[in-house]
């Protein structure tokens, strides 16, 4: 390979000299903020943040105005506001994650995944007992809810977008109305109909039914949006090749929409994985591992967190934080797997 005499110089990598106004501006902003906090009554973190934002806006606008014109100043002001807004989005989430890890990581050990709480009492140290029963309960209840709601959600969206049946508008309306159901109502519905009405007792299946009620509208609405994005050319191409509508959907539409459909299921799971209220009414809660989803009380991680936190002693509160971090880890692992298996192959147009 021959070396080229010309190197890319523009407009990337400004020299330090060119950046002088920006650097000066940054230092000025920092000093001015400190000065304001020291002199004026603005105190504390909140006051500091407020002063910092105000000074950043003022400095960048002034520098832009001096170097160029009023339009550039306005541009700088809006840039600062966009960055601030982005920071406000990131700060709550990252501090939440930080807090969960800080409080929960201490009790994390392999042992908690192998034991349940049947032999431990509320004030036992963390080396006794564990959350195996809650992990298994959550896996069961989420898996069953997914199995129930994915086909129903997909078929509803296929009816709305592909079949365009006479009741499509009605189905869409009901799906939208369903997404507004409070989770406790879904739980109460299962409790009233499935348990009191039909005489069943607490089990994982009832919990899965309650979660499915919450999950169906999310899956249906998201997959509807995904299917709408599939270009009409593909439908016509399939039909023009002599395929029936079902073959076209199964072989062309669904594969083309695969990654989006996986996302719709992920969003559905994210909606229900942490739900506590419907589970309180349906799975009953237990301290022992229950491997049968169709019979007997069971636990789940949100249930475990709620129960331990309400017990109130230090070990239980530590267990509650442990439950939170394990739930977060499970959701994260599941998302990664779904992303991996739902990834799009081939070039997109």
């Amino acid at each position: 390979m021959s070396t080229l005499a010309v190197k890319p110089t523009k407009p990337w990598r400004p020299k330090v000299r060119n950046l002088a106004p920006e650097i000066f501006g940054a230092f000025f902003t920092a000093f001015a903020t400190l000065a304001i906090v020291a002199i004026t009554p603005l105190k504390g973190r909140l006051g500091f943040s407020f002063a910092l934002i105000a000074m950043a806006v003022f400095t960048s606008a002034t520098i832009s105005w001096l170097r160029r014109d009023r339009k550039a100043a306005l541009n700088s002001v809006s840039t600062v506001f966009v960055y601030v807004a982005a920071a406000f989005v990131i700060i709550p989430l990252s501090s939440l994650l930080f807090e969960i890890v800080r409080k929960g990581i201490g009790g994390l050990s392999w042992g908690i995944f192998t034991r349940d709480m049947s032999l431990a009492s509320a004030d036992s140290p963390l080396t006794e007992g564990g959350l195996l029963h809650a992990v298994v309960g959550t896996l069961y209840v989420v898996a069953l809810a997914t199995i129930i709601s994915t086909p129903i959600g997909f078929l509803a969206s296929l009816y709305i977008v592909e079949v365009k049946g006479r009741f499509a508008a009605l189905v869409r309306f009901f799906v939208q109305a369903m997404s507004g159901i409070p989770s406790i109502v879904a739980g109460l519905f299962i409790y009233a109909v499935w348990m009191i009405g039909l005489g069943n007792s607490y089990n994982v299946m009832a919990g899965a039914g309650a979660l499915a009620i919450l999950m169906i509208p999310t899956v249906a609405r998201t997959s509807e949006e995904v299917l709408k994005l599939i270009p009409n050319d593909l439908r016509e191409a399939g039909l023009a090749l002599g395929a029936t509508q079902w073959r076209t959907i199964a072989m062309i539409i669904l594969p083309a929409a695969k990654s989006g459909l996986v996302t719709s299921v992920i969003l559905g799971i994210a909606r229900v994985a942490g739900e506590t209220a419907p589970l309180l009414l349906t799975i009953g809660g237990a301290d022992a591992l229950n491997l049968n989803p169709f019979e007997g009380n069971s636990s789940a991680l949100p249930f475990y967190v709620w129960k331990n936190y309400s017990l109130g002693n230090p070990e239980s509160i530590q267990r509650a934080w442990l439950g939170v971090i394990v739930l977060m880890m499970m959701v994260f692992i599941f998302f990664s797997l779904a992303r991996y298996f739902g990834r799009t192959k081939g070039a997109r147009r």
Partner: protein, 299 residues
């Protein structure tokens, strides 16, 4: 007064169409004089496509009025006319893609081998197998490789094929794409250029062995080089099947087609102004409007 003109026009057109209407056999004899391709055509002689007195509506609006045309096996027919004259609607009627539009309605017959494709009890998927379609925008299936794209029709219609590799090669060769993709059959169709994608779509339609191929402005999104390749492909394909091509490109119609139909709408429904051999339409048209259009005086 306008009504009178309209009526006389229609009468004009009817006499014209009657004059210019050609039976498959006479067409075949004309065509065989110019190009030697005899034995294969005789086998598919009976599979000509014929449109009789087609009227079409979208809702209450009449968009096509009394269009009759014959598409003989082994010929290329070009449909020309300004935008909005109903060419695309007409070509979509020929393989029943028209009926996907909820408000669409139709009168008249489309005959394939003498049988009405809109007849009661006709399986529409079988019709679309026999009458393939290539669309304006190349639309290979994004989730399939080149190989899977070509063979998709077989899978979609659940046909049985003895030798898939042979069919794959055969279709790609006939579509003029084999040499360019033979080493990368397992890459995705979306990775090809626009012109290659369109030829892939042609290969895909050929795999189900259609009797006729409808092309709705197949080159409008392509560069001149790809257009030429596709025109060569069309000429080669016309040896075995009948092809109907909608085009806005007058030179293309003159280059590839044996017969040309000129459609025009005067704000109302589109009508067939003139139908005849391409050389006649372009050199010595009977109707003044056709002359004006093909010489670029309007449209």
């Amino acid at each position: 007064m306008t009504q009178e003109i309209g009526d006389s026009e229609r009468k004009d057109m009817k006499t014209q169409t009657r004059e210019t209407r050609v039976t498959p056999s006479s067409l075949a004899s004309v065509a065989s004089q110019s190009q030697p391709r005899s034995t294969e055509r005789e086998i598919i002689e009976g599979m000509g496509l014929e449109a009789r007195n087609i009227y079409a509506w979208f809702g209450k609006k009449l968009v096509l009025e009394d269009i009759s045309m014959d598409f003989a096996p082994g010929t290329v027919t070009a449909l020309i006319g300004p935008s909005g004259c109903g060419k695309s609607t007409f070509i979509r009627i020929l393989n029943r893609m028209h009926e996907f539009i909820p408000t669409a309605a139709l009168a008249g017959d489309v005959l394939l081998g003498g049988k009405d494709i809109y007849g009661a009890g006709v399986d529409v998927t079988k019709i679309r197998l026999k009458i393939g379609m290539v669309f304006q925008k190349p639309n290979p299936f994004p989730s399939m490789t080149i190989r899977e794209n070509v063979l998709s029709g077989i899978k979609l219609a659940q046909l049985k094929v003895d030798n898939q590799e042979e069919l794959l090669q055969n279709c790609l060769v006939r579509a003029g794409l084999w040499d360019e993709v033979k080493d990368r059959l397992d890459e995705y169709g979306g990775a090809l250029s626009g012109g290659q994608q369109q030829r892939l779509c042609i290969a895909r339609s050929l795999a189900v062995n259609p009797k006729a191929l409808l092309m709705d402005e197949p080159c409008s999104a392509l560069d001149p080089g790809s257009t030429l390749r596709i025109e060569e492909t069309i000429r080669e394909l016309s040896e075995s099947i009948s092809i109907v091509i909608v085009t806005h490109n007058m030179q293309q119609a003159a280059r590839v087609s044996d017969y040309t139909g000129f459609l025009l709408s005067d704000g109302g429904p589109g009508k067939l102004i003139e139908f005849g051999s391409t050389s006649e339409i372009f050199s010595n048209p009977k109707d003044k409007r056709t002359l004006d259009y093909v010489t670029g005086r309007f449209g």
